[in-house]
């Protein structure tokens, strides 16, 4: 990942414990990245029929050898994420596979795959589609069938204003899952008074009192 950094600011990477180490390339304050690659790719994106998907934008920084594909060795992420991306299992993720995986993750419907597939972790991907709905959730008595009574129970459960009608907003909340509450500090608010320890020095840094403009990069890859 290349982050353009003006000399007047500081970049701080925060490695989130629990899922091991941070994997970001070192980037000095006074370095200027070689913009030819990203700029050329942006130009190509403009000319392309479709803009680069968010998924490919995220992955392309891992393409260390610049061959336009991400190999398993280049990939810096969890195995379960790789398995979703590498559709044909050849150990290489192309842009097409990344785009397809990104669309699939947005629109993954309910009732397919194992029940655990629809779980949503902290900070998980949001998106449309029937992600929160599954056959198993509807089949209350687990007889392998969804009866009229079970459908009625589902509708009643999600009829939040109890008007016996399922509005589109109620349906979206039922099948897509509600957006997770985001308690992050908003723009303009005071930075939280927290501190973190430097990884290589016995120093505790108060992140609420930066001496210069500071970029906080939170990341955790297994």
């Amino acid at each position: 990942m290349r982050i353009p950094a003006p000399a007047s600011c500081v970049l701080i990477c925060l490695a989130l414990l629990g899922t091991s180490s941070l994997a970001l390339p070192a980037f000095g304050e006074d370095e200027r990245p070689n913009d030819e690659g990203p700029r050329a790719e942006k130009e190509a994106d403009k000319k392309a029929e479709k803009p680069a998907s968010r998924m490919w934008k995220r992955l392309k920084d891992m393409d260390a050898n610049g061959d336009g594909k991400v190999s398993r060795d280049e990939f810096r992420g969890p195995d379960r994420f790789w398995q979703r991306l590498d559709g044909d299992g050849d150990g290489i993720v192309t842009r097409a596979e990344a785009d397809k995986a990104g669309q699939g993750m947005r629109g993954r419907g309910g009732g397919r795959g194992q029940p655990g597939d629809q779980r949503q972790g902290r900070g998980g991907m949001r998106g449309g589609g029937a992600r929160g709905l599954s056959f198993e959730k509807l089949d209350l008595d687990k007889d392998g069938k969804v009866s009229q009574r079970e459908w009625a129970a589902f509708l009643e459960k999600h009829d939040e204003n109890k008007d016996t009608i399922l509005q589109k907003e109620e349906w979206d909340a039922a099948v897509g899952g509600r957006p997770m509450k985001d308690d992050a500090p908003k723009v303009g608010a005071k930075a939280p008074k927290v501190s973190a320890k430097m990884i290589d020095l016995p120093l505790q840094i108060d992140l609420s009192k930066p001496k210069r403009t500071t970029v906080l990069i939170f990341g955790s890859w297994t």
Binding site: L11, A15, P210
Partner: protein
């Protein structure tokens, strides 16, 4: 690039609601200058870079005005 480590209670990550990955810019006055969406899909380096450029430009402008004001001759 300095690397910091959160504590075992995820204090910083919780304060910033930053799991699994996220970008913020904290301005020199201690306020939030940019708040990215939660990653991985919301992890947008380009958007952060644009915001950072605006913040730095604004800081430079403010610093320039301050310097000009301090050099201006004081009236009697």
């Amino acid at each position: 690039m300095p690397v910091l480590v959160d504590d075992m209670q995820d204090s910083v990550a919780k304060a910033y609601n930053a799991m699994p990955d996220r970008l913020f810019v904290v301005k020199s006055d201690g306020t939030i200058g940019y708040r990215g969406d939660r990653g991985p899909r919301g992890f947008d380096v380009d958007a952060m870079a644009r915001a950072l450029g605006e913040i730095v430009a604004s800081d430079k402008g403010a610093a320039g005005k301050k310097a000009s004001a301090s050099k201006a001759p004081k009236g009697d």
